[in-house]
């Protein structure tokens, strides 16, 4: 093998290895959008999955009608992170509901500070197996919420528990974490779901 051949061969190896390196660096970033997909496929849980439920569960449930004989206790809860100067609590703490029926509950929010503050609520359902079966038709968590200084509001949540909720589950807890929005750039859009 001549020297030129060897150089040629080496160069080719270096090239494809470099592409591999760049590809893997890109893969790291691609994981950000791929993450939710990956989580759905593998069942790893992410903030998005927990809050929106799996993509395929929602509205088909409407067709199955109301199951009047089955009751499920649903509890509501909210934790406000210390840096968000809000009071936030469910007006009704728990409710017995029929699967397939729509319900509306309110959460009362009050901005303790004197300036305008924006918050984001991140919902979570326990047990996690029920996440895809709790359909939120209207929720303050779909968008960021801004309260003026001292403002108090009631925020509505309209939901329905799908009748195909696994039989062994008869008690659900819906928890919201409220966090302050401080950062200007939003990587993923929360407003879906």
């Amino acid at each position: 093998m001549s020297d030129a051949d060897l150089t040629q061969k080496k160069r080719r190896t270096v090239w494809w290895l470099s592409f591999l390196v760049l590809g893997m660096f890109g893969f790291g970033f691609a994981l950000v959008p791929l993450y939710d997909l990956l989580c759905q496929v593998t069942g790893i849980q992410s903030v998005n999955i927990r809050s929106t439920g799996s993509a395929n569960a929602p509205y088909a449930a409407n067709l199955k009608g109301v199951n009047e004989s089955r009751f499920i206790t649903i509890k509501f809860d909210a934790s406000v992170h210390p840096n968000l100067p809000w009071e936030f609590a469910p007006v009704v703490r728990n409710l017995r509901v029929n699967p397939g029926k729509q319900y509306q509950v309110n959460f009362s929010a009050h901005n303790r500070s004197s300036s305008e503050v924006t918050g984001q609520a991140i919902p979570s359902v326990a047990p996690w197996q029920a996440t895809g079966h709790l359909n939120k038709l209207e929720c303050f968590c779909f968008n960021q919420q801004t309260l003026a200084g001292g403002e108090s509001v009631e925020m509505p949540l309209r939901f329905m528990i799908s009748p195909d909720l696994p039989k062994e589950i008869s008690s659900l807890t819906l928890s919201y974490s409220l966090m302050k929005m401080e950062k200007p750039v939003v990587v993923q859009d929360k407003a879906k779901g």
Partner: protein, 374 residues
């Protein structure tokens, strides 16, 4: 206790020699403490099973190695078998060994999978008690969602807790036996992890997530654990103490807590003007539980992360600025917002800070001032 140690040591083959070493402390352990729930017992059993399999395999490997070390030595004149790798054994061992290991793996995995399902299984029934466990830097908050009770749990300094230092808290997590309890884990700042070995599970507290675990205590007792996920400076000072009591006792405890809550709310909302001494006494106690971890009881802090309050420009400056930082925190630092405290509590803390140690401003901050400052 001694009995417990001996039973464990009998099981724990390798340790026999070391066991004789330990003497002094009552709560000494070399294995998991006795489980306090049925599922915890199964976790304990799977732990013992895998450990026994591992010990057995280790003994096999060691005996082959030691046999070989002794007999296959040049100094004993053993001739090297140059064709060992070409015998039938040499040619087929790459199938036999993995098959053997696979068999062992499957034994472990199938046993583990059964237990795993139970740990992960959704508890049935509507009578499910929800306890939300929130990790804070560096204390725990327990919310009994069904009773509207909130408990703040902090470590007790060594002077007061003695031998239980880092294993005892001011307010314990009181739980009833024989009740299915669902724990909801979340965090207010960084990652923490709930770990009480007798309950045999650990769960990370992640801001933005609410994850769940469950347990059903089968015996009374006091079970001690600690935060298990590095959460910053005082990670070591986040003990968890579960007090398991019979349901009747638990109900009494709930009533008592609810009464305390009502009384505190009344006190805070009364429009009474507080005297300086009242505020300072109240403030000292609150300061030492809530602020002392970082700023220290001495007010000297731990610079640079936690500045001293003694002689601090903010504490000795205008009241408004002082209130502002207490209520809103300071972003980008470990100073969190304390706005969730009520007006009276903040007034007491601020009054105390402005009159403690070498700070002699003489200011008295009333709850009404705090209300205005929000």
């Amino acid at each position: 206790m001694c009995r417990r140690l001996t039973t464990i040591s009998r099981r724990f083959l390798l340790v026999a020699a070391i066991v004789s070493f330990q003497t002094a402390h009552a709560e000494y352990g070399i294995n998991f403490p006795p489980p306090a729930a049925d599922v915890a017992q199964e976790i304990y059993d799977i732990h013992m099973l895998t450990m026994q399999i591992a010990t057995f395999l280790l003994l096999i490997v060691f005996s082959f190695v030691i046999y070989s070390l002794y007999f296959h030595r040049k100094s004993r004149g053993y001739p090297a078998d140059q064709n060992f790798h070409n015998t039938w054994f040499g040619n087929w061992s790459w199938v036999m060994v993995p098959a053997l290991v696979l068999g062992i793996d499957l034994t472990i995995a199938s046993n583990a999978d059964t237990v795993l399902k139970k740990v992960w299984e959704v508890p049935k029934g509507e009578k499910l008690m929800d306890v939300k466990v929130t990790g804070h830097q560096w204390w725990w908050e327990f919310d009994y969602l069904d009773y509207g009770i909130k408990v703040e749990s902090r470590y007790i300094p060594e002077e007061k807790s003695g031998d239980l230092y880092l294993r005892e808290v001011d307010n314990r997590l009181v739980l009833p036996t024989g009740t299915k309890i669902r724990f909801l884990h979340t965090s207010a700042d960084v990652l923490h992890a709930f770990w009480v070995p007798e309950l045999a599970f650990k769960k990370d507290a992640i801001p933005g997530y609410v994850t769940e675990t469950w347990s059903e205590l089968n015996r009374e007792g006091v079970f001690r654990g600690q935060c298990a996920e590095l959460c910053g400076t005082w990670h070591s000072r986040m003990p968890l103490v579960v007090e398991s009591v019979p349901p009747e006792k638990f109900d009494a405890w709930v009533k008592q807590q609810q009464a305390i809550k009502v009384a505190a709310a009344e006190e805070a909302s009364s429009s009474k003007a507080w005297s300086k001494n009242e505020l300072i006494t109240k403030g000292k106690e609150l300061y030492e539980t809530k602020c002392g971890a970082c700023h220290q009881a001495s007010g000297m802090g731990l610079p640079p992360a936690f500045p001293a309050l003694n002689g601090s420009a903010i504490v000795n400056g205008p009241v408004a600025d002082h209130l502002k930082i207490v209520i809103n925190g300071k972003s980008g630092t470990a100073m969190q917002a304390w706005g969730s405290l009520n007006d009276l509590e903040i007034a007491a803390i601020v009054t105390y800070e402005r009159n403690a140690w070498d700070n002699k401003s003489g200011d008295v901050v009333q709850p009404t001032d705090v209300k205005q400052a929000r």
